[in-house]
């Protein structure tokens, strides 16, 4: 971060700390501060609040999703939820199902985490809470088989939505990432074109590793959306900016708590304001 500029060094340091402290990461922070220093307007107005506004605008440009042609959901509209361990996938599926149910959709949940203790029970509790059918098989059964059967059942029963819960897995585990690719292929076999959505869940309390997670999951599965959870914590989730900037996958929803209603559509303005607060 070079010292060759009109903007006060102390102000730049303060801005840098805000961005780094929000988990924006060194790369994204340097990029944003370079843009700031290159901007003549910014150079002429050294006050931090004005500079923050400028930064906010730059971040907003990165996060603003291009206006998507909203594709009407297929019937059933199949959504696969993935991510590393403990980020909030199962809970998020519960919250999403609640929203979908409130919009009048018939929802089916697939308990394709056949590995972790209590995973199927956990999803079943959510299913019961929201009035969704939860399909599962024996512990240790093939997740792809669970997904296949659930999608077929969803089609047969006239479901509007099928949500597939998968086991948490670190992106560094090659065999587990292959398993996930297989689940995706098998879902397509059950219903050509499915899954219509593959959403990665990212935990806002995580640091820069979330960027690597996003890269690997995107490379393996071609993500269509990202959900950022635990924004009710003191973490700001700044890593989402780097992820969006690099991969252009839109952030769809944010998790703001552990209760069924603690899910909100992603609002980039609000997110940026909170980031720089």
């Amino acid at each position: 971060l070079a010292k060759d500029n009109e903007i006060n060094e102390a102000v730049l340091s303060e801005l840098e700390e805000i961005l780094i402290g929000a988990d924006m990461g060194v790369g994204t922070t340097q990029k944003l501060l370079r843009a700031l220093k290159a901007d003549v307007q910014a150079q002429n107005h050294g006050e931090i609040d004005l500079l923050k506004e400028y930064l906010g605008e730059e971040i907003y440009k990165i996060l603003r999703a291009p206006s998507e042609d909203f594709e009407p959901p297929h019937r059933p509209h199949v959504m696969m939820i993935v991510g590393v361990n403990g980020v909030g996938k199962t809970t998020t599926i519960g919250k999403l199902s609640h929203r979908l149910r409130q919009e009048g959709n018939k929802v089916l949940l697939a308990a394709a985490d056949t590995f972790r203790a209590g995973a199927v029970d956990q999803l079943k509790v959510w299913g019961d809470r929201v009035g969704a059918t939860t399909l599962s098989q024996q512990d240790g059964s093939d997740p792809a088989a669970v997904a296949f059967d659930a999608v077929r059942a969803g089609m047969a029963r006239g479901m509007d939505r099928v949500l597939i819960d998968t086991a948490g897995r670190l992106h560094t585990k090659v065999n587990l990432m292959e398993e996930l690719k297989k689940v995706k292929r098998v879902i397509d076999k059950a219903c050509p074109g499915a899954p219509h959505e593959v959403w990665l869940v990212i935990d806002a309390t995580q640091g820069q590793n979330a960027l690597q997670q996003a890269r690997m999951f995107h490379g393996a599965l071609n993500l269509t959306g990202i959900i950022l959870t635990k924004l009710d914590s003191t973490a700001k989730g700044g890593v989402a900016v780097g992820i969006t900037d690099e991969l252009s996958v839109p952030i769809t929803f944010i998790g703001v708590g552990e209760k069924i209603e603690d899910l909100r559509p992603f609002a980039s303005r609000e997110f940026v304001d909170a980031l720089l607060a």
Binding site: V84, G86, A117, A119, D121, T172, D203, T205, S233, T234
Partner: protein, 292 residues
């Protein structure tokens, strides 16, 4: 490689008297970026770099040691001083020894509870008793009971309507009664800013003689590791830390932040999802990993 970067900056110092402030500053700039990229908290990085600078300033450049090696030595020493040495958790108390696990949501507490029970049963010949004290998360009780059954460790039969504080109290009484010498309390994940939930942990600690309160931290945690650790440490009597999900490729800067801010030993590292995937924490290995 950080050591290569040091070499480039400091190589020309060979044969000179002292490490100059300017060269130290340049090198520290590299160090700073590297540590931030590893998720070490920026305040910790700032203080750490100031400490290294103070030690490096005016230290004589030895004839036998090139300046970059000299700097690395000082730097490494400072990092090692903070990270500490491997420490074994002390369970030297009149049985039953009570361990409490706490931390943020999803950090790995329930899995770690089972891992610790297995470890102490198999490696340390103890008779552990697992206590599901998370009555909030759907099927959390089932999760721990399933794991306990898998490793053939007895557990308290918690029901979702139970009061977690009462559960812990009753469980310890049962352990005393039945001669279990180690009680492991698994609690619900919670935010350090959730006053009611933090109070609940405080209540457990006051109603039950807890010998070791361990903070379970996800190795991928970002900048907030400092605030989380500080609050848990200040509000509760945290005696140690377990760092989970070390089997990924996160640099693990949270380890340095947590150690720096609390001074608490990191006793164990979770290195996988299976119940055997627990090992003692090796500070020097993690220090190298953080440095990249």
């Amino acid at each position: 490689q950080l050591s290569d970067k040091f070499h480039d900056i400091l190589d020309h110092l060979k044969g000179r008297g002292k490490l100059t402030e300017d060269h130290i500053e340049q090198t520290l700039r590299q160090v700073r970026l590297n540590l931030l990229e590893a998720d070490v908290n920026f305040k910790v990085v700032k203080e750490f770099c100031e400490q290294v600078k103070a030690k490096a300033m005016g230290s004589e450049v030895h004839q036998s040691l090139s300046p970059d090696k000299q700097f690395i030595k000082i730097f490494h020493q400072q990092l090692t001083d903070i990270m500490g040495v491997p420490q074994e958790i002390s369970l030297q108390h009149k049985p039953p020894v009570v361990i409490l696990l706490c931390g943020l949501q999803g950090s790995g507490k329930t899995t770690t509870a089972a891992k610790l029970a297995r470890y102490f049963k198999e490696e340390k010949k103890r008779f552990p008793y697992l206590v599901p004290a998370d009555v909030y998360r759907p099927a959390a009780i089932e999760q721990l009971k399933t794991l306990a059954t898998r490793i053939d460790v007895p557990y308290y039969d918690t029901h979702p309507k139970d009061n977690p504080v009462k559960v812990c109290k009753k469980a310890v009484a049962i352990a005393e009664d039945r001669g279990y010498d180690l009680v492991i309390l698994d609690t619900a994940g919670r935010l350090q800013i959730d006053k009611e939930m933090m109070k609940e942990l405080g209540k457990i600690q006051s109603k039950v003689k807890v010998h070791q309160s361990l903070l379970v931290v996800d190795a991928m945690t970002g900048q907030e590791a400092v605030n989380v650790a500080k609050s848990f440490h200040d509000l509760l009597n945290i005696g140690g830390v377990v760092l989970t999900k070390m089997d990924g490729d996160a640099r693990g800067g949270a380890a340095l932040s947590v150690k720096y801010i609390t001074g608490c030993p990191i006793y164990f590292a979770g290195i996988g999802e299976k119940v055997e995937d627990l090992e003692p924490f090796y500070p020097d290995r993690v220090a190298s990993r953080i440095l990249g």
